[in-house]
């Protein structure tokens, strides 16, 4: 461990330099990169996440000025060997780490830090060496899924919040437009509504701009590495989230989002729609994803896709090729929905069913503490958000679960017999 105050002083100085006199750092840019990446990557030296957040912030300010050749650091990040090897993995693991900063403001802190991270990502992801590194990282599927899961959770939360706020803004604006009725309300009521409107406007703006960045990152990630997003613990929720947001943007309730001057809240519905469609396009070739969309009975509807395509075509935001690809995807989904219905297994013995989800288990495992058998994908999904055994709330590690091979064999035999009939 280093004395943290020394470290903090150094970061403070560079943060100041980065913000106000970036030119002053021109001669020491190489050293600065080494310093930042070393400590970002080696978590054991610096324990406090807020200190590491400063490193990210320094990098952010330097990349942010990327159009200024003299002070921008992007070209260095794309050529320095240490950066090429370690920057991307370090940023990804820090993205995961800030989920819990320990401060009471952690819920909001993480979004600020992740905003900075996403900006740095954006500055470097055009580089093919960084892309290679990303592919390499994604082979370590478990840790990548943790990252991907948080990324997806952020998109879910931010879009949900911002769209909800926009709907509220819309409803207050409509209320105010009706002059006569508005004047008839009590002074106190009007003041309250105006106050709500102002606070909604503030939160809509910040959630939306963060949301846009996070969606963009998800588009990029899914275009480069699809596999982690197709794992059983991710794919169903990802499909459900995409369908849900597609429905909000083009479904029956989309008029609720028609606020005045949407751009003041960074709300660009056409761009957002086009980004969502891009994620669908990135994943549409994979049968896991087709299946996941097919089983989403909550928000999926093929007419939302045709509506989205017609909007995007009108504004020239989608190519004919992609439009027909999306159409093909929707057809495949429809076919899958129909065939799912026929796939009836009849009575399934209770012991073959996962006790949490009531689906037939594919890979049953015994939880060491409670001795309950569940499907491996169920407990994995649960552990992403809660690190305890759900049956007795004792701490649990995924490494400690025990494969129930005997039961697995019996389930496989059962399925084989059913299929033969």
């Amino acid at each position: 461990m280093l004395p943290e105050f020394i470290f903090e002083d150094v970061t403070e100085i560079f943060l100041f330099v980065a913000k106000y006199i970036p030119r002053a750092a021109a001669v020491s840019r190489d050293d600065l990169i080494v310093f930042i990446i070393t400590f970002l990557k080696s978590s054991s030296y610096i324990k406090k996440p807020y200190l590491k957040a400063k490193l990210v912030e320094i990098l952010f300010y330097f990349t942010f000025r990327s159009n200024d050749r003299e002070v921008g650091m992007v070209s260095l990040l794309n050529s320095h060997p240490l950066a090429l090897n370690h920057l991307l993995p370090a940023l990804m693991s820090f993205y995961v780490e800030v989920e819990q900063t320990g401060a009471h403001t952690q819920f909001y802190d993480k979004f600020n830090i992740r905003y900075n991270i996403s900006q740095i990502f954006k500055a470097i992801w055009g580089n093919h060496l960084h892309k290679e590194k990303l592919k390499e990282e994604s082979r370590n599927i478990d840790s990548f899924v943790r990252f991907a899961n948080l990324l997806m959770n952020d998109v879910t939360y931010l879009l949900d919040e911002s769209l909800r706020k926009l709907a509220e803004i819309h409803s207050i604006q409509t209320e105010m437009d009706n002059k006569e009725e508005w004047e008839n309300q009590t002074q106190q009521y009007r003041q309250e509504r105006e106050g709500t409107l102002r606070s909604d406007e503030r939160s809509a703006t910040s959630y939306m701009s963060l949301g846009n960045e996070t969606v963009e990152m998800l588009v990029f990630m899914t275009s480069e590495v699809a596999d982690p997003f197709l794992t059983p613990q991710m794919v169903d929720r990802l499909a459900a989230m995409l369908d849900y947001n597609l429905k909000s943007l083009v479904g029956p309730k989309c008029t609720e989002l028609k606020v005045r001057n949407p751009e003041t809240y960074s709300f660009k519905p056409k761009e957002l729609l086009s980004q969502l469609v891009n994620i669908y396009l990135n994943l549409c070739k994979h049968k896991e994803f087709v299946h996941a969309v097919a089983i989403d009975q909550r928000s999926y509807d093929q007419k939302y896709f045709s509506k989205a395509v017609s909007i995007l075509l009108k504004w020239g935001l989608i190519s004919d090729k992609n439009a027909s690809e999306l159409e093909k995807f929707v057809n495949e989904v429809e076919v899958t929905i129909k065939s799912e219905g026929d796939d009836e297994l009849g009575e399934i013995p209770d012991e073959f069913l996962d006790p949490v989800l009531y689906t037939i288990m594919e890979d049953p495992v015994i939880l060491p503490g409670s001795r309950v058998t569940v499907d491996r994908s169920t407990i994995k999904t649960h552990l992403l958000s809660d690190t305890t055994d759900p049956f007795n709330r004792m701490p649990l590690n995924i490494e400690d679960v025990i494969s129930n091979t005997e039961l697995k064999e019996r389930i496989e035999k059962f399925l084989q017999e059913k299929r033969q009939k």
Partner: protein, 149 residues
């Protein structure tokens, strides 16, 4: 063969609740897997005997990994842990949720919370809370201090 997290699970829960309903609890609305309504009767011999309340459950696509949003709607019981906007202060609905819990177990917890009540009065900070609360009780930072009721 697998299906969205909640749909198999919720259909199973629904069948259970309909075939074998717990005393005083009945599903009144379950058209979608998004939102259900259940009626809850006050238990004989308690302060709420003869009253009928309605609970609204909202499920996210992550149910049962994530807790459902549960509030009283319509006639709100007067109870030290239930705010007049329908929000319920009960730890299993928030930080103590576990995927092993179910609609049935949540209803039973709420029923027993009502039954063990000794004085019908609203929470001490009711006015302040109702003014400042978010639409969803899951966005409230709850502190659970009282286990007696």
């Amino acid at each position: 063969m697998s299906t969205t997290l909640f749909s198999k699970r919720l259909s199973k829960e629904l069948i259970d609740l309909k075939i074998n309903p717990p005393a005083g609890i009945e599903v009144t609305e379950s058209d979608t897997f998004k939102c259900w309504k259940l009626s809850l009767d006050g238990v004989e011999g308690t302060l709420y005997a003869g009253e009928r309340f309605t609970l609204e459950f909202r499920f996210t696509p992550n149910y049962p990994m994530e807790s459902p949003e549960v509030v009283f709607v319509g006639n709100i019981p007067i109870h030290p842990h239930i705010y007049s906007n329908g929000h319920i202060c009960l730890n299993v609905l928030y930080n103590q949720w576990s995927p092993v819990l179910s609609v049935r177990s949540v209803c039973l917890s709420i029923q027993s919370m009502l039954s063990s009540c000794t004085t019908k009065e609203p929470p001490p900070d009711n006015n302040h809370y109702v003014k400042t609360a978010k639409a969803s009780p899951k966005q409230t930072q709850w502190s659970f201090h009282d286990d007696s009721v």
